[in-house]
């Protein structure tokens, strides 16, 4: 049984590498590097081209659903500090491909894909809310989970787990202790 799943995963990655080859043929600059692991293929793509790449994959290769979009903070000491992962899924051939965009801390901007998939709207708002990644061209980029007056971005590695003082009490605490 395990053998069967192994064979299937190899077959799946071969199929996925086919899509990566197609991407390379279409435009050589679109694929920065490719990783493979655990039966999944990750393509690192330049951030300015993400909309074109997604559009190409959606139109030509049947990746018609954006299963997930999530950000990740690698830590304040890393240079491309943020990454945004696009998990594409096809309801036609049922394969999954991960696109990854790397962003620096100074310029955490990436074009929005909510023009292609409406589901990206909330995913991008969540990523903006928790990580502070800015999606250029997003129709309604505001906080979604945390209150609008929240200070900072909670999922960044330099944000403490317990947060700062309860933010609605901040100024009162300062007055109370006299500093």
């Amino acid at each position: 049984m395990e053998m069967r799943s192994l064979v299937r995963s190899i077959y799946m990655t071969e199929k996925l590498h086919g899509y990566v080859e197609k991407l390379k043929q279409k435009n050589g600059e679109w694929v920065v590097s490719v990783f493979e692991g655990h039966g999944e293929v990750t393509v690192i793509v330049p951030r300015s081209e993400i909309v074109e790449i997604c559009s190409y994959l959606k139109q030509e290769h049947g990746f018609d659903m954006l299963a997930d979009l999530c950000g990740c903070d690698r830590g304040p000491e890393e240079d491309p500090r943020f990454e945004v992962n696009y998990h594409l899924f096809s309801t036609i051939h049922y394969s999954r491909l991960r696109l990854k965009v790397l962003l620096s801390e100074d310029e955490p901007n990436v074009p929005t894909v909510s023009t292609l998939w409406k589901t990206a709207n909330w995913h991008e708002r969540e990523t903006y809310d928790l990580l502070g990644v800015i999606f250029d061209g997003h129709p309604d980029l505001r906080r979604i989970l945390l209150p609008s007056d929240f200070d900072g971005h909670a999922l960044r590695k330099d944000y403490p787990l317990r947060g700062y003082e309860p933010y609605s009490l901040n100024r009162f605490w300062i007055l109370d202790f006299g500093f």
Partner: protein
């Protein structure tokens, strides 16, 4: 023939009884909880009403959607910082007499979620009468909590529960609680009071609930 006949044979027409006893008995026998489902515990709260743990045996099955009609607020689940002002407002909208059951570990102490998003215990926002441990508590535990609350109600005095308008009571809060609402006029008022040096801890003005007897 019935019970009434027997009673009137043996009892006089007039019975004297303490006002507290009769009022509290009436209050405890028909507690109307507010439908305030937050998280996992809300499902167990629904379970408490449904067939197996029939909460109407204890007169508390009438869940009211409007806080204006409710007596008991069952805070069932974790209270996030975004929800805390809403919770406080709903509590303020409930008429006296009102009681609060903090259901589950998250509402009681934050539970496993000791982080930036969760209020570490709902008693930082509103006064709590009964704490129910468990994550989530079994329906039987909620039934037990309601029975304990009924015992507590029997020990109260009617005088503590006047629903008269005290301006100072509306502004006041329980020690160590968060401000009532965030960014509202009330907070701005307290802020000016602090600046004027009238109160040192604006979030800990004694509440009228502190005057209550703690059973």
């Amino acid at each position: 023939m019935g019970l009434e006949d027997k009673l009137f044979e043996s009892l006089p027409d007039v019975v004297t009884v303490r006002l507290d006893a009769i009022v509290n008995w009436a209050r405890k026998s028909s507690l109307w909880p507010a439908t305030f489902g937050l998280a996992c515990c809300a499902i167990e709260m629904m379970n408490t009403v449904s067939a197996r743990n029939d909460l109407s045996r204890f007169g508390a099955e009438t869940f009211r959607a409007s806080p204006r009609q409710a007596d008991v607020m069952i805070v069932s689940g974790r209270v996030s910082r975004k929800m805390a002002p809403v919770l406080r407002r709903i509590y303020d909208q409930m008429p006296e007499p009102k009681w609060v059951i903090s259901m589950g570990a998250c509402a009681t102490s934050g539970g496993v979620f000791d982080n930036y998003a969760i209020v570490q215990g709902v008693d930082k926002v509103i006064p709590v009468d009964i704490y129910v441990p468990g994550c989530p508590p079994r329906p039987e535990m909620l039934v037990h909590a309601i029975m304990m609350l009924q015992d507590k109600i029997m020990k109260e005095s009617v005088l503590d529960r006047r629903d008269t308008y005290h301006p100072e009571a509306r502004k006041s809060q329980v020690p160590g609680t968060l401000p009532v609402t965030e960014g509202t006029a009330l907070e701005r008022e307290t802020e000016t009071e602090v600046a004027a040096g009238e109160t040192s801890r604006p979030y800990s003005v004694p509440s009228k609930h502190e005057k209550r007897r703690s059973s």
